[in-house]
């Protein structure tokens, strides 16, 4: 069942300098019950605005939004249910825990608004704090807690009323990398345990891929592609998605006699199967860890190592191909030195129309 449905949602803002700006342009989207769905895109792509539209902090200029089958924003009927009546949980990037309340009071706040009885409140707060691993800190104030702990309070506060839907707006961006990784996992675990529908807004592709069942990539107010992380990563519909989802090598090639040549080197064909509908000039995309290096005598495109950079968990090589440079990553155990000849092989290349 679809928990959240967006139909033709458009949001325009009036600005002083640029006139009307369309931040969200005809979004059609349905998020299924119990899935974790990410909005991924660079800043200004409209992902946060969309989330605020769903939360009810903004009114759509056009279109309608349904949550759990109930219309909450319908522009044609001038209907916009206020945020407090949408029954959502939400976590903000800035944590937004109230500094004048202790942990217990923060988490109990939504229950107090609902006029839940004291015993019931105590029980539910305890349960929520257990879920996020903060038991025992009830009487502490946010100022005495770390950023990670504050974010857990925010999470506990968001789930304490047992909402069906949780909105997360860049929830991990303010945390340090180690913590970010473990929090991803915890959010995911919680989502599965409570069978929550989660919308997760982020600009970090690794984060989006790690947490989502499905995701949407957007850019400049438009949805570019929607699908599972694997679908988007392995079958991107555009160069933008390919480039945004991971480090990439884009190689401009010339097609001659059914073979592909790197621009600037028409002597050695690239070991890449050419699709039948290829135009004369194409761009082929691959990723640094999908390029293999082997000794000079072996199969592959002959080249040499221009530069070697050791990284913590791999070695990065810059390898010329015609007039262009390929970035290649290999495990440390595959070792070449600078200037050494090598053969280059490509796995899973993806073709895009030529772009300069």
């Amino acid at each position: 069942m679809d928990q959240i449905v967006l139909r033709n949602i458009t949001k325009r803002f009036a600005t002083r300098t640029m006139g009307d700006v369309t931040a969200v342009d005809h979004f059609n989207l349905s998020v299924r019950e119990g899935e974790c769905f990410s909005f991924l895109g660079p800043s200004g792509c409209g992902k946060s605005t969309t989330l605020r539209l769903i939360a009810g902090f903004e009114e759509p200029s056009e279109g309608e939004i349904e949550i759990g089958g109930r219309p909450v924003s319908v522009s044609s009927q001038n209907l916009c249910v206020p945020p407090e009546e949408r029954g959502l949980g939400m976590v903000f990037q800035s944590y937004a825990v109230w500094p004048h309340m202790n942990v217990f009071e923060n988490v109990a706040f939504p229950l107090r608004i609902q006029k839940t009885g004291r015993e019931e409140t105590g029980r539910r707060v305890k349960e929520a704090l257990e879920h996020v691993g903060l038991s025992g800190l009830e009487s502490r104030f946010p100022a005495d807690l770390s950023g990670g702990q504050q974010q857990r309070i925010a999470l506990a506060r968001a789930i304490v009323t047992r909402p069906k839907t949780l909105l997360l707006d860049e929830p991990l961006s303010n945390l340090d990398p180690m913590l970010r990784e473990s929090m991803r996992f915890e959010i995911r675990k919680l989502q599965k345990k409570l069978n929550l529908t989660v919308i997760f807004v982020t600009h970090d592709q690794a984060e989006a891929m790690a947490v989502s069942d499905r995701m949407m990539v957007c850019d400049m107010g438009k949805i570019i592609q929607t699908g599972t992380p694997e679908e988007l990563y392995n079958r991107p519909n555009s160069r933008f998605v390919y480039g945004f989802l991971g480090e990439s090598d884009f190689l401009n090639v010339v097609i001659k006699d059914g073979k592909a040549y790197a621009e600037g080197d028409l002597d050695h064909a690239l070991p890449i199967p050419v699709p039948s509908d290829a135009k004369e000039r194409m761009t082929v995309a691959t990723r640094p860890n999908l390029i293999g290096l082997s000794g000079p005598g072996e199969d592959g495109y002959p080249s040499h190592i221009e530069k070697r950079i050791f990284l913590p968990d791999s070695t990065e090589y810059l390898v010329p191909a015609g007039g262009q440079i390929l970035k290649v990553r290999t495990p440390h155990r595959v070792l070449f030195s600078e200037g050494e000849a090598c053969a280059v092989r490509f796995a899973a290349p993806v073709w895009f129309p030529y772009e300069d």
Binding site: E84, P99, L167
Partner: protein, 571 residues
Amino acid sequence: MKRYGRDRMSAGGGLLFGIDGVMTALCYLFLLIVVVIPVVSLGYHAFFYEGRFDPSLFAAQIAEPANRAALWNTLKIAFWVTLFGTAAGTFFGWLLGRSDIPAKGLMRAMFSIPYMFPPFLGAMAWDLLLNGRSGYLNKFLMSAFHLSSAPFNINSVGGIVFVECSYYFPFVFMQVASALERMDPTLEESARIAGAGRLEVFRRVTLPLILPAVSSGALLILIASLAHFGVPSILGFSQGIYTLPTRIYAVISRTGGSFEGIRSGAALSIVLVAVMAVAFMIQKKAIGSRGYDVIRGKSMNPSPVRLRGARIPLFILCIVSLVFTVVVPLVMIFLVSLVRAYGLPLTPANFTLKNYSRIFAASGTAESIKNSLFVSAAAGVLCMIMGTLIAYVVRRIRPRGKGILEALAMLPYSLPGTVLAIGVILAWSGGFFGISLYNTIWIILIAYLARYLSFALQSSSAALLQIHPSLEDAARSCGASHAQSILDVTLPLIRPAMVSGFFLIFLPAMREVTTSILLYGPYTRTLGVQIYSLRDAGMIPQAAALGSIAIVIIVVCNAVVTQITKDRKGV
């Protein structure tokens, strides 16, 4: 974490008494003259007589019923002013900081006007309007509604509270408006998501979060009102209503400035200081140790609260408040300055410009403007230099005892002007090494320096905190010596703060009455004193004329400072 610690002391390159030492010594010397000696003298003379401990004077002052009445009035007025001023300031602060009321920018500028408008001129204006016997408005109301007695009497405790309120509510207003502006909007949004409606969000989240701002603004009102001289002296003297500061002035002027009178004043000063100390302690207790960090998150504009139907009525309320606090007194002073004789109806037939020419003919007016300009400018420049120097020593050189240095420089901030003036008189009228500055402009300058030093220190300190020490270190690694790096880098960077610090002192000094009234001599009247004495002598239209001139000077200077701070580059 990087440590920029005391080790910087050694950065001079091993000079035993380098530039750092000279700067530190200079700061102590300055504070000794303007703060330490006056304060010690005050304490000494209140309790010691001819070298012996003698609390009898102090006890006698406390026992005196008139003084106790003054103490009671002071507390009463301060309480009500703080209460009403805080309520009004919070309300308007929220209205302009969070709601969708129209013309916000303009209104914010207007609401800060009472800040620079001299309260004693406001009191004068209201006295002209609502004096129990001869107020213009009272007379008008009496004839319009056939009343047998005046409907309002501004010469009362209530009147004093009303006028002080209208000048002091901006203390809370500005704090609240800026706290709301800096507050992370997601703190409120997350409460909405939690199910709370707008009112509930305000009550449970917004209000508690701005409480520290409200209470620190309230404390400012409280100490300002406790120490205030102008309004109660203008509105209260005729009815025998005294507060501690006006009572001290009355005691001293009654004895014609004799040593006995000044000693009595010193003893009363101790009472006033004790009251202030209690106020500080109460505020500390009330706020507790918890300070909130309401950091701003994403630069998402918080959606303003829609006032809907109340929007226009509230807008009108703002306009009316502005008219009462700003426009009415201003217009009144100006109109009265044109009237041929006080008491005549304010009709064009009775208008003349003669008052303006007449005040310059009166003895001391031109002199008083000159004096005020000189002493205010001198205080501005010296405070700015010394404030910056102390800030630099405290923040960057960090010698032993930097806490003492800072505390000494900030001490006069919490002392009422009246008290400072008495301290300065006791210290520099022959008390030390026979140096007597009494009846000279220099004694006024010393009092101003003490009074306004903290302003300069705060503005330079804040500016220095913005300038990372690495900027100076970078200059040194480029081959500049310590002194050169200060001159080439630090000084140019805090120059804008120094300039605005100068005006922060110059403007209030131009309209100062409280300390000058105790320190002036026959040839050293200041502008404020001159207006005050003209009015005291019954030359009310002339006092209004000089008041109008003072207002023009202040407005022009304010326009200049706004222009300068707008143009600052870099930083």
